[in-house]
């Protein structure tokens, strides 16, 4: 048996070798995407929505991305940086994927990303877009198809100015994205920051912080608390009665559908800032929202829209390079051109491969069916907005 096996292998190797010589630019016959995201635990709703948005785009294209049959390897990082790192390594070394994508949280992505970049694998970020990679650590293999960590917060700071709010109290978890976010808010906000509180990442009880806020008597409170943290904060904020004389401003993801449902009626009327809203009227978005609701029986979140756009970006690059994934320079060029109809409307990449796009104020209101949904203001609060770090990026 061993001899027969080895002969087969030898023949196969020979055939493969001949094929490789004869057709040097042979297009790949399929595309493999490694998708690592947080799919369990308190913040799983985020990863699940990115995954569902991504897979919806593949499904709507008949199982293909840019004309090639797509295989998406989905795995759960369990909200743990070390697990994400191992999964990246497995996807890249064993499964030999063409693209990596999926991670929700910037601390997890920053731990796992070197696995991809060191082995020349392209990473399409459907969410995490930390300031470091926008600036000095920018990398030709890294594309953020979401929004820079600070952008929502810069938009919120600007909105606080337009509402004439003079004093604001800020809360964020004590990690990189938390600090980036509050820096973003302070960059545009012209009033006074009366307090800043950095909480433990994953903290669920905010009684102590709420008491501090009450004592500081700000006109408005702005929080950056993604996932379950934000849900608990808003619930407890309402329970503490702070909503009566303090305005709560939120970044879009803290007033998204996955927060509205568990918090309930007390979300009505809250303002938040985002680059996308389910009520956008562009054709790509209307199709996406309708198909998403049909497929999953729920309103898509920002995360779902970002997962969907990540898949669309990959599809556009595969299509424009006619499936020649081996030619990485061409693939990178096609990715950077971003020729796809984003559900957010106008979208292009900056030189650091972070987006330039519009940001809108949204308010939570009735969906006419007894539920609540986000509605966007017509005029963007920030137009064609990039990020503050692009100057320190060496890429041109």
């Amino acid at each position: 048996m061993p001899t027969r096996l080895s002969r087969h292998t030898a023949v196969a190797a020979l055939v493969a070798g001949v094929a490789a010589v004869a057709l040097p630019a042979l297009a790949a016959d399929k595309i493999k995407v490694g998708f690592v995201s947080t799919l369990s635990g308190p913040s799983s709703a985020l990863g699940i929505d990115i995954r569902d948005g991504f897979l919806l785009a593949v499904k709507m294209n008949g199982g293909k991305l840019g004309g090639l049959p797509a295989e998406v390897l989905v795995s759960d990082d369990q909200f743990k940086p070390d697990v994400a790192k191992q999964l990246f390594e497995k996807n890249i070394k064993r499964d030999k994927v063409d693209f990596m994508t999926g991670v929700v949280f910037s601390n997890i992505m920053l731990a796992a990303l070197p696995e991809a970049l060191d082995s020349k694998t392209i990473y399409i970020s459907p969410n995490a877009a930390p300031s470091s990679i926008a600036g000095k650590d920018c990398n030709p293999l890294f594309f953020a198809v979401s929004w820079p960590n600070d952008a929502y917060h810069e938009a919120a700071g600007q909105f606080a100015n337009t509402r004439d709010l003079k004093s604001v109290y800020l809360v964020a978890p004590n990690y990189q994205a938390g600090k980036d976010s509050l820096a973003g808010f302070k960059r545009t906000f012209k009033g006074q920051v009366v307090g800043e509180n950095y909480t433990k990442l994953g903290q669920l009880d905010y009684a102590a912080e709420l008491a501090e806020i009450r004592a500081a008597k700000p006109q408005a409170v702005y929080i950056f608390l993604p996932g379950g943290m934000g849900i608990n904060f808003i619930k407890q904020y309402v329970g503490a009665g702070l909503g009566r004389d303090t305005t709560l401003l939120l970044p879009g993801f803290s007033a998204d559908q996955d927060v509205i449902n568990p918090v309930g009626a007390s979300m009505a009327g809250l303002f938040n800032t985002a680059h996308w809203s389910p009520d956008f009227t562009n054709a790509a978005n209307q199709k996406f929202v309708a198909e998403f609701e049909k497929e999953y029986k729920r309103v898509p979140t920002l995360y779902a829209s970002q997962g969907y756009d990540a898949a669309q970006l990959i599809a556009a690059a595969v299509r424009d390079t006619k499936g020649k994934l081996e030619d990485q320079a061409a693939v990178l060029k096609a990715l950077k051109a971003a020729k796809f109809d984003s559900v957010r409307g106008p979208f292009k990449f900056n030189t650091n491969q972070y987006p330039i796009q519009n940001y809108y104020v949204r308010t939570v209101g009735s969906d006419g069916k007894g539920g609540l949904i986000n509605k966007s203001f017509n005029e963007p609060i920030l137009k064609n907005h990039g990020d503050a770090y692009v100057q320190s990026c060496a890429m041109k």
Partner: protein, 305 residues
């Protein structure tokens, strides 16, 4: 820091401490009386919270849901003790850790299969807002309920342990198990009852904290670590130690997140204070435990002398 704020933060610390006490009370008895390390104790907290969320949705009544969840979790705990954990008492601590850790994983996935990853649970509408305790001091009504229930249960448990025959047997078992057995105590039955009470207290904490925090798979693991810290500080096997330890841990955690930050801001440049404050707050409890262990290795109120 103004007086009203100190008072409010003290209430927050006390409320957190009392919830920790409910977890630590069962844990310290199981550890002290049965000499058994039960890592699955936090899973009973999770089971209690899920049963409460499920029963509240089913019956439409918060009280019925919580009471039902406590009763069911107590029964579940007793069944677990009689069916599985009893065989572990004779084994060494490592076997107990391994077996109960396996139980943590099984219960996590079991709950996920039955109820899903999380369940919604809200405070009753009547308690959703704040009440004015003093002029200028608004406190969430629901947190007051938790405070009341926690204090009442602490008192009840103290009476049970100090004033009843069963309590005397538990204390005897905790201080010298061999002697208690020799004196004719029916240890297996006592263990089952103690375990049931411990499970029920876990369920009270899980069900009451559910609406404030979140009812989700894995919720018991983080809080279990703090419960262990509490019983190590308080002295293993001692209910009084668990109460004092829990309130100390609750207070230190809350004050670390608030008062400490104010102090640091007074004495350090702002960027240092904002970097050091949260870092110190997250380890304050463990530093305190290390100090207690250095001075009193048996904990503050050792059950065995």
């Amino acid at each position: 820091m103004p007086g009203v704020l100190v008072l409010e933060q003290s209430l927050n610390g006390l409320q957190f401490g009392l919830m920790l006490f409910l977890l630590a009370a069962g844990l310290t008895l199981v550890f002290g009386v049965m000499d058994m390390i039960n890592l699955a104790h936090g899973s009973l907290y999770m089971v209690g919270a899920f049963l409460a969320a499920w029963l509240v949705a089913l019956t439409g009544s918060f009280v019925v849901g919580v009471v039902g969840a406590v009763a069911l979790t107590a029964v579940f705990g007793m069944a677990l003790e009689a069916g599985l954990l009893r065989t572990l008492y004779a084994r060494d601590h490592l076997s107990q850790v391994l077996a109960t850790f396996a139980l943590v994983l099984i219960l996590n996935d079991g709950v996920k299969m039955i109820f899903g990853n999380d369940l919604p649970l809200s405070a009753p509408a009547a308690l959703a807002g704040p009440v004015e305790l003093l002029p200028g001091l608004q406190y969430p009504a629901y947190r007051l309920l938790i405070l009341g229930v926690g204090l009442a249960l602490a008192l009840l448990l103290w009476l049970l342990v100090q004033k009843t025959r069963m309590g005397a047997l538990v204390r005897a078992g905790a201080s010298n198990r061999a002697m208690a057995t020799a004196m004719g105590t029916d240890i297996p039955r006592l263990f089952t009852i103690v375990f049931g009470i411990g499970a029920g207290l876990c369920a009270v904490a899980g069900a009451l904290l559910g609406p404030l925090l979140a009812v989700q798979v894995g919720m018991g693991e983080n809080i279990l670590i703090l419960a262990f810290v509490v019983i190590v500080i308080g002295g293993i096997g001692s209910i009084r130690g668990a109460l004092v330890g829990a309130i100390l841990v609750g207070a230190i955690d809350t004050l670390g997140r608030t008062l400490l930050q104010h102090i640091l801001r007074e004495f350090l440049p702002p960027q240092w204070a904002s970097a050091a404050g949260p870092a110190i707050a997250s380890i304050a409890v463990y530093v305190f435990m290390a100090i207690v262990l250095a001075i009193k290795p048996q904990g503050l109120f050792p059950a065995r002398t």
